[in-house]
């Protein structure tokens, strides 16, 4: 027994040490979320789903930092519609990610039908999608390396962390240190059309499947209310292709009315960028293209600047 335990212990110790070391090599290529669970608390945040994660480039806001007059740096803390719709969990994580002492932050809140809706179901055991996803599975959002995140969410052998770090893997997605999710995919018309076709089909399948969630609307208000204590809040609806926009009108017809009600009640500015949606290029109709992300961020930053001037 002693011989067995000695050998097993040595082997396990080596395995453990190797994994502990690998954790230090985790970074922006690890997956589309990891980096957002590392580092320190932030002063200004982008909040929302995958649209915001890919469309809001914090470095663009940083260029206008003087004119915008906010406590930076700006940090993209948006995830996906399934992981970060407005709700108790997301608000909790925002509170943990935000530096509590900040009083002049800038907060860009992206809204879309999925972020304030809920799937229709008669299942009594139905659980909100975010309770099964990355935000609920990780307690600490400010730890480097974040072993808890890696253990619970990273689904490859940890040796892959070395390969990713040393550029030995091909990654379509790279999470930048400011939280922006850079997705580089072929942007030729055939590739875009193929991806858009799939997305449109998915969205069409959602028609009649969702309904407005008073709980989510309430938490959107609570999130705004919380962030107002720490700075300025701007609500945006990010641009999408017309095809998807039209489908979303069917998914949640009351969306505009509800959001107008929320922003009026909370007295925060709102901008629906879909009036200029033709100015941007989309990867799949739903997510803005890599290059257009800079233009979109620029549009939002300029809009916020205009608001400042109006004041």
């Amino acid at each position: 027994m002693k011989k067995f335990l000695t050998k097993i212990s040595v082997a396990l110790l080596l395995v453990f040490a190797l994994h502990a070391l690998a954790g230090f090599f985790a970074g922006g290529k690890t997956d589309e979320y990891y980096l957002r669970f590392t580092g320190h608390q932030q002063n200004s945040l982008v909040i929302g789903s995958s649209r915001a994660a890919q469309a809001m480039v914090p470095s663009v806001f940083e260029q206008y930092k003087d004119q915008l007059n906010y406590e930076g740096p700006m940090y993209n803390f948006a995830f996906t519609a399934l992981s970060s719709p407005y709700g108790e969990l997301y608000l909790q994580k925002i509170k943990e990610k935000l530096n509590p002492s900040v009083s002049n932050g800038l907060f860009i809140l992206a809204v879309e039908p999925y972020s304030i809706a809920i799937q229709k179901t008669e299942d009594k055991n139905f659980k909100l999608p975010e309770t099964k996803n990355v935000l609920s599975k990780t307690h600490d959002v400010n730890s480097t390396p974040n072993y808890e995140y890696l253990i619970r969410n990273y689904n490859k052998g940890w040796g892959h962390l070395f390969l990713e770090h040393f550029g030995m893997t091909t990654n379509e997605m790279v999470l930048q240190s400011d939280g922006w999710l850079e997705v580089i995919v072929p942007m030729d018309s055939v590739s875009i059309a193929k991806r858009t076709k799939g997305k449109v089909k998915n969205h069409q399948g959602s028609i009649g499947e969702y309904e407005l969630s008073p709980m989510r609307v309430e938490y959107l208000e609570k999130t705004i209310s919380f962030l107002l204590k720490h700075g300025k809040v701007c609500v945006v609806r990010l641009p999408i292709s017309k095809a998807i926009y039209d489908i979303e009108k069917q998914i949640l017809p009351e969306f505009d009315q509800v959001i107008q009600g929320v922003v009026s009640k909370m007295n925060v500015p709102y901008n629906d960028l879909n009036g200029a949606s033709a100015l941007f290029q989309y990867k799949d109709g739903h997510h803005i293209g890599h290059e257009s992300a800079f233009d979109c961020s620029d549009s939002v930053a300029r809009w916020v600047m205009e608001l400042k001037m109006e004041r």
Partner: protein
């Protein structure tokens, strides 16, 4: 709890320590620890389903004792009562909705205005496995081939022994009971071999099977948009996936059992190195095929009543075996197709022509063996399409496309790293084919042994997938 989960990585050393250090030498206490651990293991999934398992244990425990104490015709009725009660649980949870769906379909087709609601219940994990294990015990007692177990603790742990609780091997009482009664002495060689087998099982599951699954799932999900050649890639990868998934689980089960001093029956004997389908079925999921042989085929008359009785019985066991896997016509079709494959060999009396090890005493197979293996793999792959497809329509559409002209185009899926891993896996299996598991390298000198361990670990470290994929056979 999954063997490839963090929870299990914590659970196993705790049980190991309790078993050997707290209860060391006290057999009943060791069995009690195994029982409690098995309950914890099972309750990680759906806790309340432990009650179903408990009910099945109580029924068959008392049925065994009752059978032993009874003589004459009454014994048959006790056996029937026990089988019906045990199978009723299986029927309600696994087959009720299948029959209701079919009844509703027929009812609608005939214009009857009467449908029955399906049950909204989840299938208890591994139900078919422990049901069959319990059945074999009661039938053996009835046939006076096994003494009834009087100790409720021992009987319970026989049904619930966690390494094989949810996906087999479907053990026999005559193999396991003596091991539960015997005093355990820690055997280094057995434990070391257990660790090797556990490592190999983990490798085949998380490196080979789960990487194959990524491509297989994509191809089967969007098969309508794929070329025939891509569908061949998907079907072939599924053949590899299901073998690595299930044999991986079995290897882990056998390896874990060895850590506690138990030897479970071998469940796979390198089936893809078979020269014909009869040999394949002697080597695939052996605990189930021998179960059907002993408790269905032989009682039906086996091959004693002439060729046609033998053909009839063969079809019965293959179709029932398919149905055992799942309440879906695709599984029935899979079983039927395998019976069709088996038929020519049976009719020509060649179903037992390949009973020895392939390429025995040689490093490589000869041409005839290679052709035999290739045809066997091809036939198995075609049959697996039914096993993997959601329904019969999908299965036929998939196969139709596999045999279309687009099969002669270049496939869209080319994962060279996975290909290399599969090649390495097949080579290790080939050179280890005479052993119970391919990673039995105990005969090698230390540095070679360690090199093998490092290579396998490197595969796990760099290429494993841990996406909570359940083992395919858990659903059965």
């Amino acid at each position: 709890m999954l063997f490839n989960s963090l929870e299990f990585a914590i659970f196993l050393p705790i049980v190991f320590a309790l078993f050997w250090f707290v209860a060391g030498g006290r057999t009943r206490l060791q069995n009690a620890i195994l029982l409690v651990s098995s309950c914890v293991f099972y309750m990680f999934l759906i806790p309340e389903y432990i009650l179903i398992l408990f009910l099945a244990i109580v029924i068959d425990y008392f049925a065994g004792i009752w059978l032993e104490r009874t003589e004459g015709k009454k014994r048959k009725w006790i056996l029937i009562l026990s089988i019906v009660s045990t199978c009723l649980i299986l029927f309600v949870f696994k087959y009720y909705n299948f029959f209701i769906d079919n009844y509703n379909g027929i009812s609608k087709f005939l214009g009857w205005n009467y449908s029955i609601d399906a049950l909204k219940i989840a299938l208890p994990i591994g139900l078919s496995f422990h049901t069959f294990q319990s059945l074999s015990y009661v039938i053996d007692v009835y046939k006076n081939e096994q003494k009834a177990e009087k100790d409720f603790l021992t009987y319970s742990v026989y049904v619930m022994f966690f390494p094989q609780l949810v996906a087999g091997p479907i053990e026999r009482a005559r193999n396991l009971f003596p091991q539960f009664h015997r005093k355990k002495i820690f055997d280094y060689e057995q434990a070391a071999d257990g660790m090797r087998q556990l490592l190999w099982g983990l490798f085949t599951k998380v490196v080979i099977a789960d990487n194959c699954a990524i491509l297989v799932d994509t191809i089967f999900r969007q098969y309508e948009m794929e070329s025939g050649s891509s569908l061949w890639v998907g079907a072939a990868l599924f053949s590899i996936q299901i073998y690595c998934d299930f044999s991986g689980y079995s290897n882990m089960a056998l390896g874990i059992a060895k850590l506690f001093g138990f030897n479970l029956m071998q469940n796979f004997n390198y089936p893809y190195f078979s020269r014909d389908m009869a040999e394949f079925w002697r080597k695939w999921h052996m605990s189930l095929t021998t179960w059907f042989r002993d408790y269905v085929y032989k009682p039906l008359g086996g091959s004693r009543g002439g060729k046609w009785i033998s053909v009839r019985n063969t079809f019965i066991i293959f179709v029932v075996s398919g149905f055992w896997h799942g309440a879906n016509w695709t599984f029935v079709a899979w079983g039927f197709l395998n019976a069709v494959y088996f038929l020519p060999l049976l009719l020509m009396g060649k179903n037992r022509q390949n009973t020895g090890m392939i390429a025995e005493g040689r490093m490589l197979p000869n041409f005839k063996e290679l052709v035999g293996m290739s045809i066997t793999f091809l036939l198995a792959t075609i049959a697996w399409v039914f096993f993997r497809a959601e329904n019969m329509t999908v299965a036929f559409s998939f196969l139709k496309k596999m045999f279309s002209m687009s099969a002669f185009t270049a496939p869209s899926y080319r994962d060279w790293i996975l290909g290399l891993f599969i090649l390495a896996f097949l080579m290790i299996e080939w050179f280890g084919r005479t052993k119970q598991h391919a990673l039995d390298v105990s005969h090698l000198v230390a540095w070679k042994r360690r090199s093998v361990y490092i290579a396998v670990f490197a595969g796990l470290f760099f290429y494993a997938v841990y996406n909570s994929n359940q083992f395919i056979y858990f659903q059965f």
